[in-house]
């Protein structure tokens, strides 16, 4: 890197799409020699700050996101909030991701903090690659450097996804009670929101399969068959992933954050159409924490064990 180029630090909120595309982001900045800093893992304080800052009616995940942004204020030159709109005409994002950057800027209007974005909107002729190239250029790197950094980052992301699928394949081959959990990565992988649920299963000795640990292309095809007009890319991956894994699981959990727009509909469709597998719907609400959830998980496991004739 040029010696005279002032080193900058980019803050990344550890929430929402970080759990889906964070590897690309970090690898992209790293390849360009830009320092990144992550907000701390979600905790009560971050959640409460997020609730305070957000519109009351927004989803739990978006509230958590605002808490993470708050935690990064003043700790970096820019806070990075890419705008994800579409990958193709039939692969779009929930409008919340289209508006997240501008919503955040408006919520933190009185703060001197600067924000950084890039616009992934293939429907309007800006692919992910184009967006990251433009982002690199806006930070003073050449188009070529930026494009190369993106390619490298993408590869890393794909390798990581592949490894997750491979690990799950291995787990699925083992004997034991298997539960398929369908939920957005930003819920499942969040240490404050989803982790207690994952821990519960781990401790109960069940094998946990995640719908999002799937080959993304195969998932999209599978979703197309099950629900042809579903166009949210993240729902496609989840619904498709669920279709691909469900036959190897004994029960399925649909985990959602209140009041997730896409989940409110796709989870209903799955509940209605899938008759051959026991389904448990779980909705996480701000502040409700895990109160009562444990009881529901336990009884769900009991029912499945009972059905299988294994000891309760």
């Amino acid at each position: 890197m040029d010696a005279e180029r002032k080193p900058i630090t980019v803050g990344i909120p550890r929430a929402m799409l970080y759990y889906q595309y964070g590897t690309i982001w970090k690898a992209f900045f790293e390849a360009l020699g830009v320092k990144t800093v992550l907000s701390p893992p979600t905790n009560r304080e971050i959640l409460e700050e997020g609730i305070r800052l957000s519109v009351d009616e927004t989803c739990l995940s978006a509230k958590v996101f605002m808490g993470h942004v708050h935690a990064l204020i003043g700790k970096c030159d820019y806070i990075f909030i890419p705008r994800y709109s579409s990958f193709r005409h039939d692969e779009v994002f929930c409008t919340r991701f289209e508006g997240l950057y501008d919503q955040t800027r408006n919520i933190f209007r009185t703060s001197p903090q600067r924000f950084l974005s890039c616009n992934i909107d293939a429907k309007n002729h800006q692919s992910e690659g184009d967006a990251f190239q433009a982002l690199g250029v806006s930070l003073g790197f050449s188009a070529k450097e930026s494009r190369q950094a993106y390619r490298q980052a993408l590869k890393k992301q794909q390798a990581e996804q592949k490894a997750a699928v491979r690990n799950q394949e291995a787990a699925a081959k083992k004997d034991g009670l298997k539960i398929l959990i369908v939920g957005h990565p930003y819920l499942l992988s969040d240490p404050y929101l989803g982790k207690p649920i994952l821990d519960f299963f781990r401790e109960s000795g069940t094998i946990l399969l995640r719908a999002d640990h799937t080959n993304r292309d195969r998932a999209k095809t599978a979703c197309m068959e099950f629900s042809p007009t579903c166009r949210w890319i993240m729902s496609k991956e989840l619904v498709g992933g669920a279709m691909l894994w469900k036959d190897r699981a004994d029960g399925m959990i649909l985990l959602s954050a209140f009041p997730c727009g896409p989940d409110s509909m796709t989870n209903e469709l799955m509940t209605r159409k899938l008759k051959d597998i026991p389904v448990l719907n779980l909705v996480l609400d701000a502040q409700s924490g895990t109160a009562g959830i444990e009881t529901r998980l336990e009884s769900f496991l009991d029912i499945i064990r009972f059905k299988k004739g294994s000891p309760v």
Binding site: S85, E98, R109
Partner: protein
């Protein structure tokens, strides 16, 4: 043979007259009008819908059930740029689970906007469609929608200042004419009559009445039943009510890019669905010196929830109070009235204090 289809679309504001016109004149099929929306429609919809889906999903589902009860054998459902894109597929599943027998034409399958998709949609509705007739009917339907929007807008601006209440009769007559229209001549004649009659009304209007701009989520802001007639209620208090959002402005003459440029400082990108035009409307009303703004949305509407921080900043910058109304199937008339009355009092006292 599918020629004797009895097609129905769920109720949506007063636009069903236009849908009826294009189905009958363009596709030469029979159109079944579902009964006007009532509490029953809402309850039927809410009972059979997932809990935290938005209210328009529930209301349109209820209207589909009532259309099937009224004898429709085919349901036609449109698509949009938010959850609306997915309404049709889930609604069809729910109706099938309820045991109804019907054909379902889900236009969301044909949403690329390409000509090929359009032709496939036409074929799905009626394979024997006459292209010339359809083209003519489309053009005429556009006229009808433009007239409907113009007369509706005029009506809400005058009805609060019309002591004889004649405007109500004029508007009602115009609507029933639109539902009965069979030719372009029918449409044009009723339009001219309504426009002339509304313009000729003797009004009792203060020189500087309170002006309120209404904006918000596509379905609820336009559908008088769903928003508990918020426009009529305000007009009855003597407020000049302005609403930019209608099908003509948002779909027939879209100004998306231009709107985005005008609000660039508040919002760099589209925040999804109608967010850009919404913010632009709020800004325009504020710049025009309106006394207040009312933001309307159904419970859990994602894009409209997300623009609230933008609107809050705009409200501060222009010192214009915004009343936020969230509707779900439990929202009551009495609760709305209390909020509207208080809002009216506040902007009236503010206006007097400013003078």
């Amino acid at each position: 043979m599918k020629q004797s289809r009895k097609i129905a679309l769920p109720r949506y504001a007063e636009y069903n007259c236009a849908m009826k016109y294009v189905v009958e004149q363009g596709f030469e099929s029979k159109c079944i009008l579902p009964p006007p929306l009532t509490k029953r429609t809402e309850e039927l919809g809410a009972k059979n819908s997932p809990d935290f889906v938005c209210t328009p999903f529930k209301t349109t589902l209820g209207s589909m059930i009532e259309a099937l009860e009224a004898g429709a054998d085919t349901i036609l459902m449109v698509y949009g740029i938010c959850r609306l894109n997915y309404f049709a597929e889930l609604q069809e599943q729910i109706l099938r689970d309820l045991g109804y027998q019907f054909d379902f034409i889900n236009l969301s399958q044909f949403n690329t906007g390409k000509k090929k998709d359009f032709l496939r949609a036409v074929k799905a509705i009626n394979p024997n469609t006459n292209a010339a007739k359809l083209t003519k009917a489309f053009a005429e339907t556009v006229r009808m929608v433009e007239h409907l929007d113009e007369i509706t807008g005029k009506y809400y601006q005058v009805c609060g200042f019309d002591p004889t209440r004649e405007s109500r009769l004029i508007y009602r007559k115009f609507l029933s004419d639109m539902y009965a229209a069979q030719t372009l001549a029918d449409i044009e004649e009723s339009y001219r009559t309504a426009r002339r009659s509304l313009a000729g009304l003797p009004l009792q209007k203060p020189a500087d009445p309170l002006r309120v701009g209404i904006l918000g989520e596509f379905y609820t802001v336009m559908d008088a039943f769903s928003n508990l007639e918020v426009e009529q209620k305000l007009a009855d208090m003597g407020v000049e009510v302005h609403r930019w959002m209608n099908v003509t402005n948002s779909m027939l003459r879209p100004g998306g890019k231009n709107h985005q440029i005008q609000i660039m400082e508040r919002c760099e990108y589209s925040m999804g669905a109608n967010s850009t035009t919404d913010i632009w409307q709020a800004q325009t009303f504020a710049q025009m010196g309106f006394d207040g703004l009312i933001h309307i949305k159904s419970a859990s509407c994602t894009p409209e929830t997300d623009i609230m921080p933008v609107l809050a900043n705009l409200s501060q910058d222009y010192k214009i109070p915004i009343l936020y109304l969230t509707y779900d199937s439990q929202t009551s008339d009495v609760g709305l009235m209390t909020r509207l009355e208080a809002y009216y009092d506040m902007i009236e006292i503010r206006k007097k204090a400013a003078v």
